[in-house]
């Protein structure tokens, strides 16, 4: 299994993501944003972390990078599986590879902490993970409040693309369990072969880090169907 991890100027979770994937036995191919294509890999991860300093809008400047043209083509032609984490998610929505947008958190503040994330529906992108599974994953972002038009939300629901929600420890998507004002407590979505989420599975790879649920997440995604 070969996975490309793409770095943009300013990306700062790329090394953590490489470490997490390698700890699962994956061969990682680092890709710099100027590359026209990600090359012969099975999957792509757009890691988190302040590409272009989050200037203008998080993810907006990176969405125009040459490598994103290549990735968009491969998604279109080969249904290449792409996972965007945090800033990677923002890049994917800015690029239009995922619907909706990530707005500034309601209090305007960066927020870092642990959240309970529920798998909303079983999805071939994450085989073997039943609906209702609860994971403990950290978030760290200032622009993570998911929003989509009613039509896009409906389409996500219809296609099973509404993947992850912030919930309380019992799995209820209450307003209190919503750390950032995301519509319907949405933490992550999918469209075709493209997945995006705000929480950071690569930071939850060991009990001593607070949780090892990121391993379950990444293993499932690595074993997931192509598109």
């Amino acid at each position: 299994m070969k996975v490309a991890v793409v770095s943009f100027p300013g990306s700062n979770c790329d090394q953590d993501t490489v470490w997490a994937l390698e700890s699962l036995g994956v061969e990682v191919v680092p890709v710099w944003y100027t590359a026209p294509d990600v090359g012969s890999v099975d999957r792509v991860v757009l890691p988190g972390g302040f590409s272009y300093g989050d200037y203008l809008r998080s993810g907006a400047l990176a969405a125009e990078a040459p490598v994103m043209d290549g990735i968009a083509r491969r998604v279109e032609n080969d249904r290449l599986p792409v996972l965007g984490i945090c800033n990677g998610f923002q890049i994917l929505t800015e690029r239009g590879l995922l619907p909706g947008a990530l707005r500034t958190n309601p209090d305007g503040k960066f927020r870092c902490g642990w959240e309970t994330v529920k798998v909303v529906s079983e999805n071939p992108l994450f085989p073997g993970i039943p609906a209702g599974t609860l994971w403990r994953l950290p978030i760290a972002h200032r622009e993570g409040s998911y929003w989509a038009t009613p039509e896009d939300l409906e389409r996500l629901r219809q296609t099973g693309g509404l993947l992850f929600q912030y919930t309380d420890e019992e799995g209820r998507p209450t307003p209190e369990a919503n750390p950032n004002g995301s519509i319907e407590n949405i933490a992550g979505i999918a469209q075709g072969s493209v997945v995006g989420l705000m929480p950071h599975p690569e930071r939850a790879m060991a009990v001593y880090l607070g949780s090892s649920d990121g391993q379950h997440f990444l293993r499932a995604w690595l074993g997931g169907q192509r598109g």
Partner: protein, 83 residues
């Protein structure tokens, strides 16, 4: 070729919540100002070369649609001035 200054105003769409605007509104009201609404967007000033003002505006619209604004949540307006 001439130089133009584009003033691009990028505002959150009306249906999009603007928490910063609302927070500012409540502070202004607490300070006693007779205000009833605040919306906060971006003001982006771009210096550009173009044969004429129409072409400058056209380029401005392309840049705004592509990069400066996010069409999912924002709309924009452009003014063109020669410099």
């Amino acid at each position: 070729m001439a130089r133009f200054r584009l003033q691009v105003q990028v505002m959150p769409k009306p249906e999009i919540l603007d928490p910063a605007g609302e927070a500012t509104l409540s502070v202004l009201q607490r300070l006693g100002y007779p205000v009833s609404g605040v919306r906060i967007g971006k003001h982006i000033v771009v210096e550009i070369e173009a044969p004429d003002a129409d072409e400058a505006r056209e380029l401005g619209q392309q840049m705004a649609r592509r990069l400066l604004a996010n069409p999912v949540m924002e709309h924009f307006g452009i003014e063109v001035d020669p410099v």
